[in-house]
Amino acid sequence: MDHTTAFVYLAIAAGFYMAWAIGANDVANAMGTSVGSRALTLRQAVVVAAIFEFAGAVFAGGNVTETIRKGIVDPAAVAANPQYLIFGMLAALLAAGTWLILATRAGWPVSTSHTIVGAVVGFAVVGLGPDAVHWPKVGQIAASWVTSPLVAGGIAFVLFTVVRRTILEQEDPFARARRYGPFYIFVVFLILGLLTAFEGLKHLNIDLSVGQAVAVAVAIGLTAALIGAAFIHRIHIDPEADRDFHYANVERIFAVLQICTACSVAFAHGSNDVANAIGPLAAVVNVAASGNVAQASPIPPWVMLLGAGGILAGLAMWGYRIIETIGRKITELTPTRGFAAEFSTATTIVVASLTGMPVSTTHTLVGAVLGVGLARGIGALDLRVIGGILVSWLITLPAGALLASFFFFFFKGLFS
């Protein structure tokens, strides 16, 4: 089985490259909003992203990885020829990597999630036949691509309206923001904590009872709220800031809140997108180790760490530049808006992660920002972007599928 060892190394390299590409390109969208609203400096954004992307990948990245690894391709279809799964998953990684390079060169904003799903479906249909694909699962995934931006937009609309009603429209918005700020922080971390504690930790073989999970989430929420409160109380009214713009001081408080939502978006992104890199890798490693398409085997922890490490490498080598570029472009997004958009994005993505749906963080964030826009919160939004999203869907799926089937037949012809 010398071939198999070679395949594992190749898969590791390709998986690491995918993770690197995610860190280099996609993390920027998650963090760019915070840099744009000046809630975080570039350096702080990179540190926050590094910590929370890693945590998200490790603590809540299991379910989406499982979907990519064995949710799309029917294991029965490859039971007789387990090496086909190795060829296919490796082909999917190479196809997605190639497509990302091409699309980035051409300046097309494509989603890694869509690419990898397209590639896995593509090799399965062409290489193994249409029956090898779990079509209901693929249907669910495709539906989640439409619903995730819509849901995030809806939450963002409601959340921004709530912020406006409870704080901005009140008699003394600054005092209100100071009082309610820590409460909002508590809610952000409580929701993330609850979702993660209930669903995400299973893959780490940590099984909490309901009571324990709630206790952990409340503890996380309270800790974050206390830290946030300490920061908020150090902010005092700066009359200079309010001379031209009455709400400048309120926005300063929301900058603290937005740091929290930036953490949660990074966490959510890590939990969803790491799977694009390590889902196929986990499948290859699994078959190579056991010689069959075993269902029960867990994802090896080193695979998870490899994915998280790849994201960090991409972020450190290239991603920070893109964060800076995006940050400069979206200065219209103030912290109150950024808070609403990021909170709804993070919540939507974490729910998607825990239900195993590989969604696009960027598209979800676009949906959330549009939600804030619908609540009349943003100066000007260019709706032509929506057309760009639709086009990227239409191009990415066939492209990923085509490239993946090409690589699949290449390996198959070479080794069997």
Partner: protein
């Protein structure tokens, strides 16, 4: 360079340029009172100097207006109706144009202000300038309105400001009628062509407040209903 959906999503907001435009219009109109004071004093050099200032400021405002129009494509999603916004811009533009027309007429025709008309005419242009200031104050609230989603306390505050602006326009109307009456009494003593041009000037001076009021009443449409 990889493009970013998120970066492309944010268009250039039209609100800051609207405010900068109105600020220029306001400083342009601020030269109208000194202009007429110079006319009343028969100080030709100052008239020419004030006119040059007005021309320059009007031109600067025009540049912003054109850039703003060019950067507001139909595909933009704005928190207010695009057409209303462009109409407000047109009204702001009209205010500066009116100031420019006034300056051009007094300078080119070397208009001499008949003594009985001097004081009420100055009062009229002063009232027009105040209306323009009031309109500028309303436009200056646009960023706060945006921050508040065009609702709530900020919206009612602006509502009150727009009401005051309307009052100012009524005052200007009253002054316009008064100057017209004085000119009518003077008709026999003046050259008929001059009379016609003074009627034209009075109308233009009244337009300063009219267009200012229109800025406010169109902006009222932005406020949540």
């Amino acid at each position: 360079m990889p493009t970013s959906l998120l970066g492309d999503l944010f268009g250039r907001s039209p609100f800051q340029p609207m405010q900068r435009h109105m600020e220029l219009v306001r400083s342009c109109v601020a030269h109208v009172v000194p202009l007429f004071a110079a006319v009343a004093a028969g100080d030709g050099a100052t008239v020419a100097a004030e006119r040059a200032q007005i021309d320059d400021l009007e031109h600067q405002a025009d540049m912003i207006k054109n850039a703003l129009r060019a950067h507001l494509p139909k595909g933009f999603f704005l928190p207010v109706a695009r057409r209303d916004l462009l109409e407000i811009l047109d009204f702001q533009d009209n205010i500066a144009d009116t100031a420019q027309d006034l300056a051009e007429l007094v300078a080119e025709r070397r208009m001499v202000l008949p003594a009985p008309m001097a004081e009420p005419m100055l009062a009229l242009v002063k009232s027009g300038q105040q209306a323009c200031d009031a309109a500028a104050a309303v436009i200056a609230e646009l960023d706060e309105l945006l921050e508040m989603g065009f609702r709530g306390r900020e919206a009612s505050r602006v509502e009150t400001m727009v009401d005051k602006l309307a009052d100012q326009e009524e005052e200007s109307d009253r002054l316009e009628m008064e100057v017209n009456r004085i000119l009518f009494a003077l008709e026999g003593e003046l050259d008929p062509v001059t009379v016609i041009f003074w009627y034209r000037m009075i109308e233009l001076a009244g337009d300063l407040a009219d267009y200012s009021k229109k800025v406010g009443s169109r902006l009222r449409l932005f406020l949540a209903t």
